[in-house]
Amino acid sequence: METTITESRETLTAGTSMDETQGLTYPRIECKNINVSYGDKQAIFDISLPIPDRSVTALIGPSGCGKSTFLRCLNRMNDTIESCKVTGEIIMDGENINDPDIDPVLLRSRVGMVFQKPNPFPKSIFDNIAYGPRIHGLAETREDLDEMVEKSLRRAGLWEEVKDRLSSPGNSLSGGQQQRLCIARAIAVRPEVILMDEPCSALDPVATARIEELIDELRKRYCIVIVTHSMQQAARVSQRTAFFHLGELVEMGETDQIFTNPRERRTEDYITGRFG
């Protein structure tokens, strides 16, 4: 399975854009021997995982097994935790993003993230969405910005609920609405890679379906990694699944194969609900 890139992409360190016809081969992100520890406590043990472009990779595993920690490696969010040390290589577009030369700010503008707990800014709904486009100068005019905000909210399935109250604070929304607000905020900057940490944990079935639809739509152009505790969701939206346990990668493969015919005993026990 080989994917080619048609859109031009900047490399991370410099603005040299790649030739449009030049092919980038599968996978989009290649993680090699990732170890993460918080102080003395190691949370991730030697994980190597390829993440393909234009598809959804689901990370599953019992609580505390290191899914969020691993996800945060992919946009260097672990930098913000003082005690956290990450080693290993994460190759994205031919560059190791753990390289000290890489500017994490630039990296994060291309790798969007939706957090496990909704964390809207203490600003209005509109400003929450407009924040990213503003700091990255994506909108030329006010109309552009309005349009971006509306589009992002529509895609996250929130527009109908908030279109009359765009200036009320983001914190005034319900938990599920906040979660969709954060999704809308993340996609507003049009990242190329989107990391989602349990994006549907507070959503009702209708909103969940809307988000899964969105994920499916985003998949056509972007690379998506999603952490989920719902086996059904993993089976529905993802093409590949990786099963984590106690900080180790137990098994990874095509989602169909993992769910119908897992190679490892532990994987089978987990997806059939025998532990975890």
Binding site: L106, L107, S109, N119, Y131, V189
Partner: protein
Amino acid sequence: MVQQLGHLPMGWLLLALLAMLASGGFFVGRVQAERFNGAAGSVRVHSRPNYHGYYVAMWTFVPALVVALAYAMLGDGIVRSLLAGELPANFQNMPSVELDVYLDSIARAAFDHGYGGADRVFSAIANRFLELQGMVKASAIALALASAACGFFLARRKVAPGFRARNRVEGGIELFLFLCAAIAIATTVGIVASLLYESLRFFSEIPFWDFLFGTRWNAQTSAEFGALPLFYGTFMIALIAMLIAAPVGLFAAIYLSEYAGPTVRAWVKPVLEVLAGIPTVVYGFFALLVVAPAIRAVAVWINMTLMSAGITAEPLLAAQPTSALAAGLVMGIMVIPFVSSLSDDVINAVPQTLRDAAYAMGATKSETVKHVVLPAALPGIIASLLLAVSRAIGETMIVVMAAGQRARISPDPTADLTTITVQIVSLLTGETEFDSPKTLSAFALGLVLFVITLFFNLIALRVVQKYREKYD
């Protein structure tokens, strides 16, 4: 015999008595409760034995404590008034101050185990004093024991399986805590009431509006009580102080909470707090001896330059040896830690998830601080600034030493000004009689000061509360 009692060390005795009563009551209550606890079987016991013990101890201890406190407060007075009543007629006509001095010497002589001097009358009175004291002491102890016994028996009668001893003890604790809080409140109310009372006396002589809006203050020599120049000086100096403290304190807080590594923080934070621990009088002489002369020198230099350049004919700046600027600058340094420490706390209280959200959008550190952290912490920061302002307004030592005594309204920061606090100090030090308008005006000034700082503190409190609601 009664005289011997007069030498009883009442403090220790009462303490020991109280401790014994409390522990005795506790054990009796507990043992009694344990008995029915063991025997009860079918009956459900409401409270654990310990609570019955506490309950009995409470009722034994508290009445005795009340008696002991009453003795501590009134005992001496009772002895003295009894003695004074028995004194021969020539003493009865003495002025009360002299009588007090005489009784003091009697008490001292009695305390030194008898008087060996020649004055027979004096030694007779001293002995009588001891006798009376012995009687009062003995009756205080008897009363304490009796009241403790009453409480003890009443409480013991209640100990029963169904008795809700735990709830009663909880109620007792609540009452005790309430009394402690009430003491603090009562003190405040008392102070405010006395301020109000004396101020009203002042305003009965000087019209309120003349005081508040008059522009001439000359309380020491002539009776001019227009306090506007004092308010002006106070606010001018507080303003200068805040111009220093607000940005420096805030930026220091941002640096400490957002940028500094753990080692830097471990060093800088305590140092900043040391700044808050320096006695204000030290700041005061620093202002007077170092800062004020420097400011004066600069002001003189500016005057010279301007005049030699022909821009002004007269000296532009007052260039006084004490100045609003000197006091304000040093006061600004003094309140920096008040701003930085509280702001640091509120910035740290901004949830990390908010910062994460901004970083994950590709925001830089300073963008995150500017757009997310500061707006989220703004109410707390405002509160810290308001507290610093009320601190600056009430500050006394620095301005007494470095601001000057002249009451005037001048925009020139190198001129000397005076403040509310400085005037209160100079009105109440030295010779004063208590009911001249001059001293009473100090109370009026104090009242104004109190109202201003109360106002700032209340706003700060409201703002902080709002902020809490947002994140809890």
